[in-house]
C-alpha cells in the first residue's frame, strides 16, 4: 500500500494512504482524546471527542483519511473550548467516583480528564444525575455497571463479531448495554471486558465493593 506524509502538530508523520488521522497520530504516539475508537474495529464515530484541525477545517479524526501534505493540529483554542464542555458533560453524567473503581488506572476517561486538566469547579456548574442505576450481575463471568459506562459501543461491536451476546437497549439517556439474560450465547471469552475503556464491564473476580 502506498504511503503519504503529513504533519501532525509540527511533526512529519508517514502513514498508509487509507488510514485515518486518528490512527496515524496514535501510531506515532501523538494522543488525541477518544473513547469509541478501537484499532481492531471500524470507527463508529459516536463519542465525538477526537476532533482535530486538518488543513484549517475541524474534522473528526477517526473518520477522516490522511492525505499527502495534510497539516493537522490536534489542539487549537476553538477545539479545546468546545471539547472541554463535551468532556465536562460526560464527567458530570459519570455517576461514579474513581476511588475503588476497577477501571481506574488504564481508564480512558481518566486519561482524557488529565489531558484537558479537568476543572471540578466547572463540572459542578452542571446538573448531576439523580440516582444510581442498578448493576447487571446476571452474567456468570462478568458484571455490567451502567454508572461507569460511557456507551462507546466497543464491547457490543466486539461481541458482534464473536457471539452477538451483548446489545444496546433503550434510547436516549436510558440507553444501556444488556445481556438480556441470554448467557447461553456468551462464550466467556472476556474480550468485551478486556476492551472496556472504563470500569463498566468487569470480571466477577475483581468485583469491587464500591458503587
Amino acid at each position: 500500500m502506498s504511503k503519504v506524509t503529513l504533519t501532525i502538530d509540527g511533526l512529519d508523520v508517514e502513514a498508509e494512504k487509507e488510514t485515518t488521522i486518528l490512527r496515524a497520530a496514535l501510531d506515532n504516539d501523538i494522543y488525541i482524546p477518544h473513547l469509541c475508537y478501537h484499532p481492531e474495529l471500524s470507527p463508529s464515530g459516536i463519542c465525538r471527542l477526537c476532533m482535530v484541525n486538518a488543513d484549517g477545517e475541524v474534522v473528526m479524526s477517526c473518520q477522516t483519511p490522511v492525505d499527502q501534505g495534510m497539516v493537522v493540529k490536534t489542539k487549537d483554542p476553538e477545539i479545546d473550548r468546545l471539547r472541554r464542555t463535551s468532556i465536562e458533560i460526560l464527567v458530570a453524567n459519570h455517576h461514579a467516583s474513581c476511588r475503588g473503581c476497577p477501571g481506574s488506572g488504564p481508564c480512558a476517561l481518566q486519561k482524557i480528564m488529565a489531558y484537558i486538566r479537568i476543572d471540578r469547579k466547572r463540572v459542578r456548574r452542571l446538573r448531576l444525575p439523580e440516582e444510581d442505576l442498578p448493576k447487571d450481575q446476571s452474567n456468570p463471568y462478568f458484571d455490567y455497571d451502567p454508572n461507569h459506562c460511557v456507551l462507546c459501543n466497543i464491547c457490543v461491536q466486539t461481541c458482534e463479531k464473536i457471539q452477538g451476546a451483548l446489545h444496546v437497549i433503550g434510547r436516549g439517556i436510558r440507553t444501556q448495554i444488556a445481556f438480556y439474560g441470554n448467557n447461553a450465547d456468551c462464550q466467556s471469552c472476556m474480550e468485551c471486558v478486556a476492551r472496556c475503556p472504563v470500569g463498566a464491564l468487569t470480571a466477577k473476580e475483581s468485583r469491587s465493593t464500591h458503587g
Binding site: G164, A165, L166, H167, I169, G170, F179, Y180, N182, D185
Partner: protein, 155 residues
C-alpha cells in the same frame, strides 16, 4: 402445552413473511397485536424465525416508542403533551391524573388496571388539552374533569 402467549396466533402471522431481517419491525408490529405487548417468549420465536439473537430483537424493540415490553393495564390512560396541549395545561393534568392513579408516567398499576403514559402528539390539537383512555378521546380537558375519568377510584 398451553398457548398463553399466542404462539399459534404468532405462527399465523409469520407464514406471511420470508424470514428476512428487514421484516423485523413489521413482524413486531403485528405480533404486538396478539397480547398488546411483546412477551419474551414471542420475541424469542421471532428471533428464531429471523435467525437472529433474541437480544437483537429486544434491542430493536426497546428503541421504538410503539413497542411495549411490559404488560399493560386494562385501561390505557394517555395524556397528550403536544405543543397545543402543553400551552393549554397538559402538564398539570398529567400530574393530577398521576396522583389520583398513584402512578408515575410510564407505570402500570400492580393490579394491571391502569397504565399511565404521555405521548408527543395525538393530533387533535384543536381539542387541546386531550386525554385518551383506551381508544376514547376526551378533549378540552380540565383538572376537575380529568379526575372524574376514573370513577372507580373515588369509591
Amino acid at each position: 402445552m398451553s398457548d398463553e402467549f399466542g404462539e399459534a396466533a404468532l405462527k399465523n402471522i409469520l407464514v406471511f413473511y420470508e424470514g428476512k431481517r428487514s421484516e423485523l419491525i413489521p413482524i413486531l408490529q403485528e405480533a404486538q397485536g396478539i397480547n398488546g405487548w411483546l412477551p419474551r417468549e414471542v420475541m424469542q420465536l421471532i428471533a428464531d424465525f429471523l435467525h437472529i439473537n433474541e437480544g437483537e430483537v429486544h434491542s430493536v424493540a426497546s428503541f421504538y416508542n410503539q413497542f411495549r415490553l411490559m404488560p399493560l393495564g386494562r385501561k390505557m390512560v394517555t395524556v397528550c403533551r403536544g405543543t397545543a396541549c402543553h400551552i393549554r395545561g397538559a402538564p398539570q393534568i398529567l400530574v393530577d391524573i398521576g396522583q389520583s392513579l398513584r402512578l408515575k408516567e410510564g407505570e402500570t398499576s400492580p393490579d394491571l388496571e391502569y397504565t399511565l403514559e404521555s405521548v408527543a402528539c395525538i393530533g387533535c390539537c384543536a381539542l387541546a388539552p386531550v386525554v385518551k383512555v383506551n381508544h376514547k378521546i376526551h378533549g378540552e380537558m380540565t383538572r376537575e374533569r380529568a379526575v372524574t375519568l376514573f370513577p372507580k377510584l373515588s369509591e
